[in-house]
């Protein structure tokens, strides 16, 4: 049996008295795209941050490509350099040009030479229609462009797993499509992705599997057809009904 790309077992995380994640079990196969849906505060972002070791976990384990990354004495920096994450608010470095944003990780964390890092960045920027922006500063780009740069920045590390945290939630509606298009392209290429999203129609056509998070547990999971077409749990039905009522599905 081949090892899965990501396996999460019994993950617990609390902030003070607030239990945000209360026993998450989740497995991703290589090249699988899984969407996390659920109300705000259901723990989607926290789960992604835990996988990237940005938040220490309280219990459980996270196994990445066969290695337990939550074990003691794990090289945290090396683990992170193999997992890409894209944030809702882009978090580009405002004092660096687009090119510098994209080459920082490869140069400092992967210790690539300037030439190789620049080559890698230029190729990726070109692929996602950002070639002419490489010398711009982030403040001069539109939100959609900034988020695409953020995706390119993550991809420049050649991650084995990409985490997307509500990547379109901070965008004006007309800019959402260009970012989702990039994600679709990555899915088509076989990138393993775990995507927290509010874009249900996007989740429906890009995801191999959809997980509904509710109060810190995965209440229900299945194919997009099953989750969106015939949800079993009453909480899932309620959540989706609210989305439909809001005109978002």
């Amino acid at each position: 049996m081949s090892t899965s790309a990501l396996a999460i077992e019994g993950l617990h995380k609390s902030f003070g008295k607030l239990d945000v994640l209360r026993g998450i079990d989740l497995e991703l196969a290589e090249h699988e795209v899984v969407c996390l849906i659920g109300a705000s505060g259901s723990g989607k972002s926290t789960l992604l941050r835990c996988i990237n070791l940005l938040e220490p976990i309280d219990a459980g384990r996270i196994v990445l490509h066969g290695d337990d990354i939550t074990a003691a004495r794990v090289n945290v920096d090396r683990v992170r350099s193999g997992i890409g994450i894209v944030f809702q608010a882009f978090n580009l470095f405002p004092h660096m040009s687009v090119l510098e944003n994209v080459t920082l990780g490869p140069r400092k964390a992967l210790r690539l030479g300037k030439k190789e890092a620049t080559g890698r960045a230029t190729e990726l920027l070109g692929r996602f229609g950002l070639a002419d922006k490489r010398d711009e500063y982030p403040d001069r780009l539109s939100g959609g462009q900034q988020q695409r740069v953020a995706i390119v920045r993550a991809l420049a590390m050649r991650p084995g797993l990409l985490l997307l945290d509500e990547v379109t939630s901070a965008l004006d509606p007309e800019l959402v499509a260009e970012v989702l298009e990039v994600v679709r392209e990555l899915a088509a290429e076989g990138m393993t992705m775990l995507i927290a999203t509010h874009e249900m129609s996007f989740a429906r056509d890009v995801a191999h599997r959809v997980c509904f998070l509710d109060a810190g547990v995965i209440l229900e999971q299945g194919s997009p057809e099953q989750i969106f077409g015939a949800p079993r749990e009453p909480r899932t039905q309620q959540f989706l009904q609210r989305i439909v009522d809001a005109g978002r599905l």
Binding site: D77, I85, F87, L104, Y137
Partner: protein, 260 residues
């Protein structure tokens, strides 16, 4: 625009009128504004001022580094670094609390008096050390405010790329922090430049003592005016240069608005 010019003229005109009509004005003018004396005294006092320049140039270069180091130590997270943070806090409290002139007196008089082998006995050396100690405390607080003003999501983004804590600090947090604190940093450096006059308490013939010696010789305060103009001649261009640097950085990052 016309209103601004008119009101400025009226205001300063009235002020000049009042001052020059004051009963002591003629004596005041003779004491402080003797232009031939000014020209005569200038070269000598300017030469003494070079000692102040030397002190603040060295002190500023050292403070830039030591204060940053202290600020970083104080920003180290986690329980392991409690003693480091505590030491940094004690240092800052101490050297911000004690008047600069006392630090200069204690080190400038005390250290040479020890007559220790290998310890310099130059007053200028210990005065410079005193200014470095005091201003490191002030400037580290400025840096710390800058570090804390950088949103944690910037560090998270850097760490998520696999950068170490130090790399994130070095390449992402500090460059943004330092840019934001350039104006208050300059403020402290102007303070440091002026405080080099305190070195006079050790008997070093720097700008203030030289002006004082000259004043005592012919009972004329114009020598102090020379000293004052020398300080201002350094600080004003520095302030304009800093403004220009900040404006240039902002233009580079934002000019042209949003391109689509």
């Amino acid at each position: 625009m016309a209103i601004a010019v008119a009101s400025t003229l009226v205001f300063f005109g009235a002020l000049a009128f009042l001052v020059t009509r004051s009963p002591g004005w003629d004596r005041f003018k003779a004491y402080f504004f003797d232009w031939s004396l000014y020209r005569e005294s200038f070269p000598e006092i300017a030469e003494a001022f070079l000692i102040n320049v030397k002190i603040f140039l060295i002190a500023e270069a050292v403070v830039l580094v030591t204060a940053l180091g202290l600020a970083v130590l104080r920003s180290l997270p986690g329980p392991v670094f409690v003693p480091v943070r505590a030491l940094a806090i004690v240092y800052t409290d101490l050297f911000r609390g004690v008047p600069t002139i006392l630090v200069i007196l204690m080190l400038g008089v005390g250290m040479p008096a020890l007559q220790l082998e290998g310890v310099p006995d130059s007053e200028i050396f210990w005065a410079t050390v005193s200014l470095v100690l005091v201003y490191t405390a002030y400037v580290s607080e400025v840096y710390r405010a800058g570090i804390e003003s950088v949103h944690p999501s910037q560090d998270a983004a850097a760490r998520s790329l696999g950068l170490s804590r130090f790399q994130s600090l070095r390449h992402v947090v500090l460059p943004q922090a330092v840019r934001r604190v350039i104006p208050p940093l300059l403020n402290d450096f102007i303070g440091l430049q002026k405080d080099t006059a305190l070195v006079s308490v050790l008997g070093v013939v720097e700008v203030l003592n030289q002006a004082g010696i000259n004043e005592a010789a012919d009972f004329n305060g114009t020598h102090y005016l020379v000293a004052a103009t020398l300080f201002v001649a350094i600080t004003i261009p520095l302030a304009r240069f800093t403004d220009w640097l900040i404006a240039r950085d902002r233009r580079r990052r934002q000019a042209g608005g949003v391109t689509t």
